[in-house]
Symmetry: C2
Subunit: 462 residues, 2 copies
C-alpha cells in the first residue's frame, strides 16, 4: 500500500500565494510609536527593501526566484503522507493526510522562509543577518540558510535555552552561525539588562531587542535583521507548503479537503499550509481551517484583536493581531515555539474575517496523541506539531461518530528529535495541564491600554 | 538547478540482491564451538527459520514481500542527491552523488533491515524481539520497526551510553520499546557481571550476551534475537539502497560510476550501497569500491581474515571475517557505530576476493570534512557517515589532481542530530587522532590463537 505522494522538482509551485490580496477587508497597517502607519522607508534599517516590498505587497501571486528554488530542491518537494496506520488505529472513516516538513535538514518548515530571506538579503547587498531564537528551531534554520547562501549569521539565543539546549547551539555552529546567549554584552539592550539583573535567564523579548539593535547599529549598513514568523513575507514564503499539497492531492484525485489543521505560535507553519486552502474557502468551498494553540497560551481563542508590540521591550511597530498583551509571560510548557503572546497579523485578520476557526488544546492530550502517532505512523513529532496531531485525531474521531468520510489534512511542521525531554517528562508523569486563569489574562491585557485600536471592519466583527 | 533524483514507489526494487550467489569462491560457513559448521537448526532458538534461510541462501535475487515494501514506503525510495555545492567548493571535475538514508524517521539506514526482520519474525509467530545497542542507533530502529509491525521489543543498552545518551532511550520508549541498561538483573549474564563489578560501564559484548540469553531462555518460545549488522541477511536487506541508487542513476543517464564509498563498522550500510555495484565489478566493470573505517579501529586494513567470535563473551558462533580479535577494546572515538572488532563475513570475503579496497581515516579529517559538507550541502551527518564524506572528498580531490571527470558515489547513512557532542568537541579542539600501535594490535590478536583458520581459497589469497 503506497502511503505518500511525491512531486518532482519540475512540478513544484513557481509562485507564492499572498492571502492579503484576497482578504475581504484590506489589511490593517503596522503603526509607529506616534500611532501613524509605518512607511516602508521606516523599516529600511531593519529589513532589505525587497523584503519590505513583499511585506506590504497586495499582489496575489509572487514569483519564486529560480535561485531560491534551487536551494529548496535540497529537500523539497516534501512528501504528503496518507496516515493509513493512524486511521486504522482510530477506526475512522476519515482519510487523514499530513504534509511532512520534518524532512528538511534542520528538521522543520522554518528553512522555507530562512532560505528566501537570506537570498533576498544577499541580493540587496547585505553581508550579515542577525536574529533571535528561543528553543533554537529558527536560529538553526537561519544558520543553515546563511551557510548555503553565503551570509554571516549571528543568533541571540535566550540564555536559559542556550544553557539547557546545548545541541541547538552546536547545530548553528556547525552551519557556521555565531550563537551567543542573550542578554549579551554585545548590545546596549543586553548590557542594560545584565547591569540590572546579572543572572537573568533572558527572554525572547530581550533577544529580539538585541538582534534588532545589532542590525541597525552596524555602521557598515551591511547587516539586517531576520524574523522567523509573524510577518507577512514570512507567511508568504511558507505558502509553498500548501501549494505543493494541493498539487499532491490533485495527483491522487483527492478533490475536496474538509478539514485543514496546523499548530500556530507566530503562525507561519499554519499559514503555509492553510492559506492556499483559505483561498478556496473565499471562493466558496466548505472547509474548516483550524489553527491550534496551547490552552496555556490562548492568543487566538481568548485574546482580543488589538494593536500591540511584537516584543516586551516595545522595539517593534504596533501590529494588528490577536494578543495576550506584550507583557504576557507564558507558562513553561514544552512547546517552546507556541509560547508567543501575539499572532501573525494575516492569521489574526483571517480569524476576524471568519475564514479560520481556532481551537486550543492541553498538552497532555497533545503528548498522548503524539505517542499514538509515533507508534502508528512512525514519526516522533515536535511538541509544537503534537498540537496539530491531537486536533487531527479529534477531528477523525468526530468523523467516526458522525459516520462521515471526511478528508483531514494537517501540517507535520517538524520532528521532535531535538526535543525529546518533553516526551521523557510525559512518560514520567511529570507534565500537567495548565489553563490560563481569567484574572491572570485580564491583568496581562492591561498592557494594551492606551494603544490604538484597529477600526471596525465592514463585517462589524472588530 | 535540480539536485536530487526521486523514484516513485512503483519504481522501487522488488527484490534484494544476495552477493553470496556471485562471489568467486563459496562463502565460508559459521562454525560451532566444536569447529564444525553450524547447521540452520542450531540457530533456531536465536532466529526464526525464515531469516535463517535467508542467512544461508545462495539465491541471487530474493523477493521483497509487499507487506515489507508497504512499510518502507513511509520514507523510501530515499533521494539520491548530486552534491553540486560541494563539487563547487572543491573545484573538482568529479560528479559527486550521495544516497540519503538519513530521511528515515529514526535517521539512518538501520530501519531497512529492522522492518524486514520484525516482519519475518511476526510471520513466524514470534511476539517479541530482543537486541543490544551501543550508541542507540540500532535500538531505536528496531523499536521503530517493532512498533509499526506489532511486536514487543526489549533493548539492552550499554550502561555508559544509557547514562550519557538519554535521548536515544526516550526515542525507543516513544516507539514503545523497553530499553534497559546493560548489564541488568534480568539475565544470568548480567547478574554475574554485576556481582563481580557492580559499577561496570557495560560493553557491547555483555549486551549481546544478555540479549541472546533473554531470547533463548524465554520458555514460551515466542521471543527471538535480532542483530543490526554483520550477518548475511542484514546485508541482504540493505541492498535496497544500492538497487534504488542504480535506478536513480539510470534515470539521469549517468551510465558509469567510478568510485563507491561507504563507512563500515559491522558493514551493513556499506554493503547496502556497494554490493549491487560489486556485481557490476564481478561482471567486468571498473569500479573502486571502498569501505572506510576509523584508523583507530582498523579491522579491514590491518587485521587478518580469520575465524572469530562476534562478541567478547563468545556466545556467538565463529564467523569468518576480518577481526582485531574479540577481546579488542576500541578507543573512545565518537563514531560509536564503527567501534567493532569484526566485520561482516560477506564484506570480509569480498575484500579477500579483491572486489573491495578498504581504506582507513582519522577522525579529525572526518569532522573537518563533515563541517565542510554541512556548510555546502546543508546536512549534518552522523560521525560514522563522516568517514564516507571524508573519503569521497579525498577521491574528488584526487580527480581534480588527475583532471578526471570521475563519478563518485557515497552513502549518507545517517544524520548527526543525535550525536552533536562530537562536533562540539571538534570545535573546542578536544579531539585527537589515534593510530592503533602495532604492539597493542599484536596483543589483541592473541585472542584468535587456537581458533580454526579459514581454508586457503582458489586465489591463494587466504
Amino acid at each position: 500500500m503506497q502511503t505518500k505522494v511525491f512531486l518532482t522538482e519540475d512540478e513544484m509551485p513557481r509562485q507564492w500565494y499572498n492571502l492579503a490580496a484576497d482578504l475581504p477587508s484590506p489589511m490593517q497597517p503596522p503603526l509607529g510609536p506616534d500611532g501613524n502607519p509605518i512607511s516602508p522607508e521606516m523599516l529600511a534599517p531593519v529589513f532589505p527593501m525587497n523584503l519590505i516590498e513583499q511585506e506590504v505587497s497586495q499582489e496575489r501571486w509572487i514569483d519564486i526566484p529560480e535561485e531560491i528554488l534551487s536551494i529548496l530542491y535540497r529537500w523539497r518537494p516534501t512528501p504528503l503522507h496518507r496516515a493509513y496506520a493512524l486511521e486504522k488505529a482510530l477506526g475512522t472513516p476519515a482519510r487523514i493526510y499530513y504534509k511532512n516538513e520534518s524532512v528538511s535538514p534542520p528538521g522543520s518548515h522554518k528553512p522555507n522562509t530562512a532560505v528566501a530571506q537570506a537570498w533576498y538579503n544577499k541580493q540587496f547587498g547585505i553581508k550579515k543577518l542577525t536574529t533571535e531564537t528561543g528553543a533554537g528551531q529558527w536560529g538553526s534554520a537561519l544558520a543553515f540558510a546563511c551557510s548555503l547562501i553565503g551570509l554571516e549569521c549571528k543568533i541571540f539565543m535566550v540564555r536559559i535555552s542556550f544553557d539547557q539546549k546545548p545541541f541547538r547551539k552546536i547545530m548553528m555552529q556547525t552551519w557556521g552561525g555565531r550563537c551567543i546567549p542573550s542578554p549579551s554584552n554585545e548590545t546596549q539592550a543586553g548590557r542594560d539588562i545584565l547591569a540590572k539583573i546579572p543572572d537573568t535567564p533572558g527572554s525572547l523579548g530581550i533577544a529580539i531587542s538585541e538582534a534588532i539593535e545589532a542590525a541597525v547599529t552596524d555602521t557598515t549598513g551591511e547587516t539586517r535583521y531576520s524574523l522567523g514568523s509573524v510577518l507577512n513575507h514570512v507567511m508568504l514564503h511558507q505558502t509553498i507548503i500548501g501549494l505543493e499539497t494541493k498539487k499532491q492531492l490533485e495527483k491522487i484525485n483527492e478533490k475536496k479537503v474538509d478539514v485543514v489543521v496546523g499548530c500556530a505560535g507566530g503562525g507561519s507553519n499554519f499559514a503555509g499550509l492553510a492559506f492556499p486552502f483559505a483561498l478556496d474557502k473565499i471562493n466558496g468551498a466548505e472547509i474548516d481551517i483550524i489553527p491550534v494553540e496551547p490552552s496555556s497560551c490562548p492568543t487566538m481563542t481568548r485574546a482580543p484583536y488589538a494593536y500591540d508590540h511584537g516584543d516586551v521591550a516595545k522595539m517593534t511597530p504596533l501590529l494588528p493581531m490577536h494578543t495576550l498583551g506584550h507583557e504576557f509571560i507564558p507558562p513553561p510548557i514544552h512547546a517552546g515555539g507556541l509560547r508567543y503572546h501575539g499572532m501573525a497579523p494575516l492569521v489574526s485578520q483571517a480569524i476576524v474575517e471568519g475564514l479560520l476557526t481556532p481551537q486550543s488544546i492541553h498538552q497532555l492530550e497533545c503528548y498522548e496523541s503524539a505517542v499514538m502517532f509515533a507508534r502508528t505512523e512512525g514519526i516522533i513529532v515536535a511538541p509544537e506539531t503534537s498540537h496539530a496531531v491531537a486536533t487531527a485525531i479529534r477531528e477523525a474521531k468526530k468523523a467516526k461518530e458522525e459516520g462521515k468520510e471526511k478528508v483531514i489534512l494537517f501540517n507535520l511542521s517538524g520532528h521532535g528529535l531535538m526535543d525529546l525531554s518533553g516526551y521523557d517528562k510525559y512518560f514520567a508523569g511529570e507534565l500537567i495541564d495548565y489553563a490560563l486563569p481569567d484574572d491572570v489574562l485580564a491583568e496581562s491585557l492591561k498592557s494594551l491600554e492606551g494603544l490604538p485600536k484597529p477600526p471596525v471592519n465592514k463585517t462589524g466583527k472588530w
